[in-house]
């Protein structure tokens, strides 16, 4: 009789709560999740392979398309990796600019996520409010380089664009408006009883397990582990006294609070970088072809992003490996789902801020002709 004790519920690859294609098979006993089997591979776009075919300088724009949300950081990290291989020096002002745009990307990503999370737990009005405020940041992106989502201000050896005085003023003023609006929502995120009831104690990821399973980003910081790639002081972060935000709750609620608090941290970092940014050029033109292996790490809104490039002295790379944070967060996700109930699945899946399309940008190797 026990053969029918468990039910298998397929979740995805298309599912209303998750606009990204991942397939999870939930083994449930009545309402309780006993096991989860993830299955990926529904959207690979061949970006790693594309990096081996394209000119290494044009790869920046390809890498920015790994993710639609955290695009700037992808291009920046790729540039960093190439700069390490070629030994190109980045001007100080460009390093500050990269911090500003990284944090701007993080802001719009976190606001997007806070909205989606509110939507996942059925808090529609909060979803609308947060996304309305996010529009201000997208408009700033447009003012910077003409595109609402993709900034594309990166170049190997620095930045293609600079922030002039009038733009800097717009940054300060507009971000102050968003900050005020987000501040108004503090009581909602911290105190709303419905929101807490739906997220507190859901998707527990104990501190020790988080590190063991290799969780990254807000997912591990929500479990009380103080780790953030920005602590390594890449670009200008070393000069900005960065301290990671950590919450000890180990649950979905705690991961949400990490992201909410990081929004304000980003405002602070942008303000400070705009003030302390030195004058000077923003780009050192690079002429050397990459040769040898180089790595670069950075902190994406979702966690640690990792680039490994291997050059062979030509204008094409022999290998470009991208490890996105969601790939590292899938084993912890499986672990935190087990033991919860079926109605909490959307909340928990959203709590790692999954970006499946980023994770699956690898390509199936085609047969070479002849």
């Amino acid at each position: 009789m026990s053969q029918n004790k468990y039910t298998v519920i397929p979740f995805g690859p298309q599912h209303p709560v998750l606009p990204e294609p991942v397939h999870l098979r939930f083994v449930v006993d009545e309402d309780k999740i006993v096991d989860v089997v993830p299955n990926l591979g529904y959207v690979h776009r061949g970006i790693e392979r594309g990096c081996e075919i394209n000119d290494y300088k044009r790869n920046i724009y390809l890498c920015e398309r790994v993710c639609g949300i955290c695009n700037y950081i992808h291009g920046m990290t790729y540039s960093e990796a190439i700069e390490k291989v070629t030994g190109a020096e980045v001007p100080a002002r460009a390093k500050y600019l990269r911090v500003i745009w990284s944090e701007l990307g993080r802001l719009q990503s976190h606001l997007l996520w806070l909205g989606l999370f509110a939507d996942a737990i059925g808090f529609e009005s909060l979803f609308m409010q947060v996304w309305r405020d996010r529009e201000v940041i997208l408009t700033l992106n447009e003012k910077t380089n003409g595109h609402r989502i993709h900034l594309e201000t990166n170049a190997i050896g620095g930045c293609r664009k600079d922030i002039d005085e009038s733009l800097a003023k717009a940054y300060v003023e507009d971000l102050a408006v968003v900050r005020g609006k987000m501040e108004n929502l503090r009581s909602v995120f911290y105190k709303d009883s419905a929101l807490r009831a739906k997220t507190e104690g859901k998707g527990i990821l104990p501190k020790g397990k988080a590190a063991f399973l290799g969780a990254v980003g807000p997912t591990i910081r929500g479990s009380g582990v103080k780790t953030d790639t920005r602590m390594t002081g890449y670009e200008a972060y070393g000069a900005l006294d960065f301290e990671p935000i950590v919450h000890e709750g180990e649950d979905a609620y705690s991961r949400m609070l990490v992201r909410y608090d990081e929004v304000f941290q980003s405002f602070d970092l942008i303000d400070r970088a705009l003030k302390e940014m030195p004058e000077g050029p923003v780009l050192n033109r690079n002429t050397k072809f990459p040769e040898g292996a180089g790595i670069a790490r950075s902190e994406q809104p979702r966690g640690e992003l990792f680039y490994y490039v291997e050059g062979n002295g030509t204008n094409k790379l022999s290998r470009c490996k991208i490890r996105t944070p969601t790939a590292a967060n899938i084993p912890p996700l499986v672990s935190m789902l087990i033991g919860n109930e079926v109605p909490d699945i959307p909340t928990i899946i959203h709590s790692i801020d999954p970006c499946i399309s980023c994770t699956e940008r690898f390509v199936q190797v085609r047969k070479e002709e002849n």
Binding site: T7, G280, Y308, R319, F362, V365
Partner: protein, 599 residues
């Protein structure tokens, strides 16, 4: 140009390792608290270079391992669980082998079966739509896995006779079970949320009550020419004989007494189970199976039986009683509950037990003894139990019935001494509860100096039954004297000899005995070259239809069963429960949620 140097706190360390020492390095890194970032591979033609990237505090460690392309790479997912994704990815990207991944997609992470080399995207296909069909919680709870949801449905559709057949498929004594079963199914019923589960037992009884005759026309399989002996005419023995008979074997049933029934006959009072009905149903089953019944045959030895038969099933029951272990236990007027119940149930006698009766014990059989004493005319029946009501093994329903009939309960009391004068003098001692014992219940501890004496006419001991296996049987027994069997096949230490029922598991219920009988019949048939009995199946083709509107039926009240008045009851041995009539049964069956529905 301003070049401001920023302090970076990270550096990269390169470690090159042979494949043989790779795990040593990995363990070192693990001990240093390094976290796996990712695994990369570089394709050098015949040779592959694997790069394991680790983060140690703020630094990055790159571990490089070179191996020939054809050699499989050992998986590190045991050390770093998150490695499984990268290793699966490598397998797909470079067409290499990684052995021992915790979740291995077998080179199918990116592609699916039959995809050609130009397929970039795995089609988004999930598994076929899931057909929901369950056993139902009641059926899962039933030791005999009787298809309760099906016969409840048959009653609701106005086909109770079909329900009787459904039940008899797995538990061949529905009329008896409908009166005496403990009904574990009802405890698991979803309607139980209102404390008013579907009365599955009474519905089962209704299927039997609606049968014009309990004798059905059953089709027996073609004779196999094999002979099987069954020892013991209790539920396990009769059940086993019935199924074996249907399967075409020639079955002989040996019974010690002059009537079949075993513990159902002597142990269950007439007010619960009328004896003519018991006999009727047992006889019907034996006739349907074509079983030869030999009564008054006390089997002492299995040797001759084994010689004359191809298989033997031993269902001898638990026929011995535990002793109290106090002085004066053997005095006249001290009787065993088995003795008392047998006199009344089997021999139709009315033993004179006097007015004051003391029952010692707290199980269902002690309650039976008390309620029988009340019917025999005893005015003052007191039950002495050494723990409290909470620990009492008797079912609450039975306790309630006994209280209604005027049985008194004395908790935390145990006998110390019995003396014979003009009447019996029973010395009792007060107890208190101490630490829990093996059974999880709190152990009673005597209170010193709390002894007191009561005068009674009869003392009935009812503290449990034990098994006695005749010494010449030659089967292995365990410490408690019960027969040791292989739980899969029900076979004893002797080949060809099977056992089940109370003789194996100690005193248990009718449904458990029937389960044993069916299980043994299955393995006997298999051992004799047959196909055995069908296992419980989900009957996918049996369309259940739309589920009922649960919100509508959820708060419907349970249909209570008509019962004799308590005053009326103690006057004789008439059945207490009167069962459902057709209208009541229909109403009750329609409260069912149909948990096994499909869509």
């Amino acid at each position: 140009m301003t070049t401001q140097q920023f302090e970076t706190k990270t550096k990269t360390e390169e470690v090159v390792a042979e494949k043989s020492e790779m795990f040593n390095r990995l363990n070192e890194l693990k001990a240093q608290g390094a976290r796996l970032i990712t695994i990369t591979a570089l394709d050098h033609g015949k040779e592959m270079e694997y790069v394991y990237n680790f983060a140690r505090d703020l630094d990055v460690v790159n571990l490089r391992v070179k191996t020939p392309r054809k050699e499989p790479m050992p998986s590190i997912s045991s050390l770093y669980p998150s490695a499984f994704l990268f290793e699966n990815e490598l397998q797909d990207l470079f067409k290499i082998q990684v052995s021992g991944i915790s979740v291995d997609f077998g080179g199918k992470l990116l592609t699916i079966e039959g995809a050609d080399d130009t397929t970039l995207v795995k089609p988004a296909v999930g598994p076929a739509p899931f057909i929901k069909r369950f056993y139902g919680r009641c059926r899962e709870a039933c030791p005999g896995s009787v298809n309760a949801p099906k016969y409840i449905r048959q009653i609701a559709e106005g086909n109770p006779q079909g329900g009787y057949d459904t039940c008899a498929e797995r538990a061949p004594l529905p009329a008896i079970l409908g009166r005496v079963c403990f009904a574990p199914c009802q405890d698991r019923c979803r309607q139980e949320i209102n404390d008013e589960p579907i009365q599955i037992r009474l519905l089962k009884r209704f299927t039997a009550d609606s049968m014009p005759s309990l004798r059905r026309k059953m089709k027996r399989a073609k004779p196999t020419g094999k002979k099987v002996a069954v020892v013991g005419g209790g539920p396990a023995g009769v059940g086993c004989a019935y199924f074996l008979g249907l399967l075409g074997h020639e079955v002989t049933l040996f019974e010690k007494g002059d009537r079949c029934g075993g513990a159902m006959l002597w142990g269950i009072p007439k007010y619960r189970l009328p004896k003519d009905l018991l006999e009727d149903e047992l006889q019907a089953r034996l006739e349907e199976g074509g079983v030869t019944l030999k009564t008054k045959k006390d089997v002492k030895n299995l040797k001759t039986l084994k010689k004359e038969h191809d298989a033997v099933f031993v269902a001898i029951g638990a026929l011995d009683s535990y002793k109290l272990g106090v002085d004066g236990e053997d005095n006249k007027g001290v009787m065993d509950f088995r003795e008392l119940l047998s006199l009344v149930n089997v021999h139709d006698k009315t033993p004179s037990i006097g007015d004051r009766v003391a029952i010692i014990g707290g199980g269902n059989s002690s309650i039976d003894a008390a309620r029988v004493s009340k019917r025999l005319g005893a005015g003052n029946v007191v039950m002495y139990y050494r723990r409290t009501e909470k620990e009492m093994p008797a079912s609450p329903h039975e306790i309630h019935g006994a209280l209604q009939e005027g049985v008194n309960f004395e908790y935390l009391t145990a006998p110390v001494k019995i003396e014979r004068g003009k009447s019996l003098k029973l010395t009792l001692q007060q107890m208190e509860l101490g630490a829990p014992d093996d059974s999880g219940r709190r152990r009673p501890v005597p209170i010193k100096g709390s002894e007191y004496t009561v005068e009674v006419d009869t003392i009935v001991k009812a503290i449990g039954q034990s098994v006695i296996v005749p010494a010449d049987f030659g089967v292995d027994v365990n410490r408690q004297g019960r027969i040791v069997i292989d739980e899969e096949t029900m076979q004893t230490s002797l080949p060809g000899v099977y056992a089940g029922g109370d003789g194996v598991f100690g005193p248990s219920s009718v449904i458990e005995a029937l389960r044993d009988g069916r299980k043994a019949a299955h393995s006997i048939d298999v051992s004799l070259g047959g196909k055995g009995l069908p296992p419980p199946d989900l009957e996918m083709e049996d369309f259940v239809g739309r589920p009922p509107n649960i919100e509508e039926i959820r708060f419907q009240e349970m249909v209570s069963c008509r019962e004799l008045d308590a005053e009326e009851r103690v006057k004789g041995f008439g059945e207490v429960e009167l069962g459902y009539d057709e209208d009541e049964a229909l109403r009750e069956a329609r409260r069912c949620w149909k948990c096994d529905w499909n869509e």
